[in-house]
């Protein structure tokens, strides 16, 4: 094998989905033994490109060369056979199988599925310091450990070329550092790493080369030494990035949401939300920082009445909500932007105007005397589409046919329209493009100015710091710290989130 050949060359790759051209005439060369970053905003087509390289999707046009040789990749097996491994944006693990089973799956030929495989996994784990126990069930692992299992999966197959699709999205800065340590080790061992992110600082610190993708095409390939984060951002977006920030404080001393000793236990009796107390006032945005899986989702569901409380009290204004059904809580004035819009926010196969009714089935303009008021709902949907700039030809198309950002804008518009006192916004801008992102932030600011109380949960630390009046940190279900968004940096917040700096910044 000659080392002068690029490890991977992609030429003229085009991939069309119904209604979208995800990739258009993409050209990338990845030199062997380097860390090559690909950046681009949400929906730019990064994942699609990588799936093509991994054989999960076929390009409509273009050629792929691996180590100088042109290849046709029909399935992941083809890619694996050529030494390509991929860690996906979303975990690709079966919870109810052991680590061993997850790792050897599909690669049973190498070392079987028994003792030999177990030894090999231990070996790799030790070699790269991954600290993975082959006999644990995956469902018992935390996010970081899962990430390492994913990497182990790829290494186990002897991959020479590693694709990491947004591996850092769910990691805190410290874990990211560890991961980057691992990547450098891998590079030293002669592996090639293709690394996707839209967090520019990270990219600048770890990559040897950076390719920028915008709207499905390659815009430029640069060296990290030659550009600043700002320049990169402009390459990505084609204009300046919007910045999340609040202007003057609108916080009043009228409490809207008050939690007192809220505790939620899972089926095994473990407290996933542990004695949480907090108050959000009119005009206040309270951000909750935490590594994913530390109880944020359960806290939200407890406030929404989707999970039963084990102890504690939830009040909204003067009303006690504890024990109340979700519907009553919504009627009492809670709006809810769910974390997973496809699962919790939309009826994908239903038209937009029916989605307008969802969550507001008992309130005008959607109902009149127990019956659905179609005209009312339609009229109000038109209003939302107009006011929130939802890009759609009409309100009779199914929600599934909108792009992610437009789906999100529809949800935001809907949740704002019941005149809520409290808005729970879980990752409100996750996976939406920049334009939609700034629009959503604008709407939040506007509503806050009018006295709305907001509970904001986000994995994007910039958003969290920029958009919150108050910041609380959640760790293993407990509120462990409080931070001043005016002064704290993402790094400091990150160490609070892992518990490293517990109490110090309070």
């Amino acid at each position: 094998m000659s080392t002068t050949e690029p490890a991977v060359e992609l030429h003229g790759i085009t991939k069309r989905f119904p209604g979208v051209v995800a990739n258009h005439d993409i050209d990338i060369e990845v030199a062997a033994g380097t860390v090559h970053a690909i950046v681009g905003e949400n929906g730019a087509g990064k994942s699609t490109l990588m799936k093509i390289l991994y054989g999960m999707q076929r390009p409509d046009e273009g050629t792929i060369k691996v180590a100088g040789e042109e290849v046709a990749l029909h399935s992941p097996s083809d890619a694996i056979a050529r030494g390509i491994g991929m860690v996906h944006q979303h975990f690709m693990l079966a919870d109810n199988l052991s680590v061993l089973e997850n790792v050897v799956l599909g690669a049973e030929r190498l070392h079987g599925i028994g003792g030999k495989a177990r030894r090999r996994i231990r070996e790799i784990s030790d070699q790269y310091g991954l600290g993975v126990d082959p006999d644990r069930l995956v469902e018992q692992l935390g996010v970081g450990a899962r990430q390492r299992v994913e990497i182990l999966k790829v290494l186990y197959r002897g991959a020479k070329i590693l694709i990491l699709d947004e591996p850092t999205a769910v990691l805190v800065p410290q874990e990211v550092e560890e991961l980057f340590g691992n990547l450098r080790d891998l590079k030293r061992e002669g592996l090639t790493v293709i690394f996707i992110s839209h967090k520019l600082d990270e990219v600048l610190s770890v990559a040897d080369t950076i390719t920028v993708i915008r709207r499905g095409t390659t815009v430029d390939t640069v060296q990290p030494g030659d550009v600043t984060a700002r320049q990169l951002a402009e390459l990505m977006v084609g204009s300046e990035l919007p910045v999340p920030e609040l202007r003057e404080s609108t916080v009043t001393d009228v409490p809207v949401l008050a939690l007192n000793g809220v505790t939620v236990r899972d089926a095994t009796g473990r407290a996933v939300v542990d004695d949480v107390s907090l108050t959000i006032h009119e005009g206040e945005i309270l951000g909750i920082a935490g590594v994913e899986g530390n109880g944020q989702a359960e806290l939200v569901e407890a406030i929404m009445g989707m999970l039963p409380l084990d102890a504690g009290v939830v009040r909204l204004g003067d009303d006690e909500l504890t024990g109340m059904a979700t519907r009553r809580r919504r009627e009492a004035g809670i709006g809810f932007i769910p974390e997973d819009r496809h699962r919790h926010g939309l009826l994908l196969e239903s038209p937009l105007w029916e989605n307008r009714i969802l969550g507001h089935q008992t309130r005008p303009p959607n109902v009149k005397g127990g019956l659905i008021d179609r005209q009312g709902a339609r009229r109000d949907t038109e209003r939302i589409v107009r006011d929130y700039d939802v890009r759609t030809p009409n309100i009779d198309v199914t929600a599934a046919s909108l792009s992610g950002g437009n789906q999100q804008k529809l949800i935001v518009g809907r949740e704002m329209s019941g005149d809520p006192k409290l808005l729970i916004a879980a990752h409100p801008t996750r996976g939406v493009d920049v334009g939609a992102q700034s629009a959503i932030w604008d709407h939040l600011r506007h509503a806050r100015a009018e006295g709305l109380a907001v509970l904001l949960i986000s994995a994007d630390l910039d958003e969290l710091i920029g958009m919150s009046d108050t910041l609380r940190v959640i760790l293993r279900g407990r509120l462990v710290g409080e931070a001043d968004p005016a002064t704290i940096t993402p790094d400091q917040l990150g160490s609070l989130m892992t518990g490293a700096g517990e109490g110090s910044a309070a």
Binding site: G19, V20, V21, G216, R329, E354, L358, L371, I372, T398
Partner: protein, 363 residues
């Protein structure tokens, strides 16, 4: 635009139905030819027979039961709840309603109303059992309703004994006491036939309209559909899914209670050993065929009943009448497959359409 899209989703259903019909006629023809019969003459015999007045009455009467049965099933299906227990529910309901109706003679109208109410109550209560098992114990309703069908048979057998709820009818039959004239529903004459249309057909049609209204116009209907399309989204929107499960199941059982009524009030006036069975199971197929909509189900139950009725002439002509069962199954399987394909294609067209309208296609 609205009309355009509305028409389109209609077209979609029609296309699916048409393709499925062609497909199943083709399958049937092949099976017939392979076994040495002439398909065109077979079909012709069926149509000739099917359009006789007697056959029409019989088809409509049969369709009434099928229609109600499929409606009962569809209420559950609309929220992904599989009530396989419609069969047991209607049999138990019909038996107890017949017993009540035969025991007490009440003035006309009141008498019928009482019988129907008993049937609806029994059907609903019996369906509440699997519903409660599901929401409190997590037992899959598919399995529990199947078991309850068997158990309903046991209960009916126990109660349908002289000395309990039954009396001897002739030397070899037992049944509940015959409902007196005040509790019967007079049949509607049909030109050219001595047979009478069940007047309960009217109630079946009304039930269909009520079903449509409930599903499309009420809050409950919205919640039901939302739970069916996405349970997680429904929960987040404030639908109490446990309550919905119980309500939908009970409603399904209540409609199931009506299934035996056309026959009971319009034909046999007693629940005896030869009371029709299996309508609940047929209803599952018909609901699937009719895509769980009241109009689709109407067509499906007519088609099914027509095939059932005209199978008699096949037997008469020495053609195995089970060919009809093959046709029914072929229609059913092909409808579900074809509809799946059509709706996928439709979704694609939609997405492309939206993108094209917005000019959002990336350069």
């Amino acid at each position: 635009m609205i009309h355009h899209l509305f028409a389109r989703s209609w077209t979609r259903t029609l296309v699916a139905a048409f393709v499925a019909l062609v497909f199943s006629v083709a399958i049937t023809s092949i099976v017939l030819s392979v076994s040495g019969f002439n398909p065109p003459s077979t079909f012709q015999a069926m149509f000739e027979f099917g359009k006789e007045p007697d056959s029409i009455v019989n088809t409509l009467n049969k369709a009434a039961g099928y229609y109600l049965s499929a409606l009962a099933v569809a209420v559950g299906f609309r929220m992904n709840l599989f009530n396989i227990g419609v069969d047991g529910q209607y049999r138990l309901a019909a038996m107890l309603a017949a017993a009540v109706g035969g025991t007490w003679a009440l003035p006309a109208v009141l008498h019928q109303v009482v019988i129907i109410i008993v049937a609806v109550l029994v059907g609903g209560l019996w369906a509440a059992v699997p519903a409660l098992l599901k929401v409190t114990r997590g037992v899959s309703e598919v399995i529990s309703t199947i078991m309850l069908n068997f158990i309903a048979s046991g209960i009916i057998a126990y109660l349908l004994n002289p000395g309990r709820l039954a009396v001897q009818l002739g030397s070899n039959n037992v049944g509940t006491k015959t409902i007196s004239r005040s509790g019967r529903m007079p049949g509607i004459p049909f030109p050219g036939s001595d047979l009478r249309l069940y007047s309960f057909l009217v109630i079946a049609v009304l039930a269909g309209i009520a079903f449509w209204f409930m599903i499309n116009r009420t809050r409950f209907g919205f919640d039901l559909r939302a739970s069916g399309v996405s349970q997680s989204a429904a929960v987040a929107s404030g639908v109490d899914v446990r309550r919905m499960v119980v309500m939908a199941m009970v409603m399904s059982g209540a409609i199931a209670g009506l299934i035996g009524m056309p026959q009971l009030l319009g034909g046999s006036y007693t629940y005896s050993l030869d009371f029709p069975t299996g309508i609940g199971l047929t209803g599952i197929g018909i609901a699937l065929l009719g895509r769980n909509g009241p109009v689709g189900i109407a067509f499906a139950s007519l088609l099914w009943a027509f095939l059932d009725v005209s199978s008699q002439i096949l037997d008469f002509n020495d053609i195995p009448k089970e060919i009809v069962a093959i046709t029914q199954a072929a229609v059913l399987l092909s409808v579900v497959v074809v509809y799946e394909v059509v709706s996928r294609v439709g979704q694609r067209i939609d997405q492309r359409h939206v993108a094209a309208q917005l000019g959002e296609v990336a350069a």
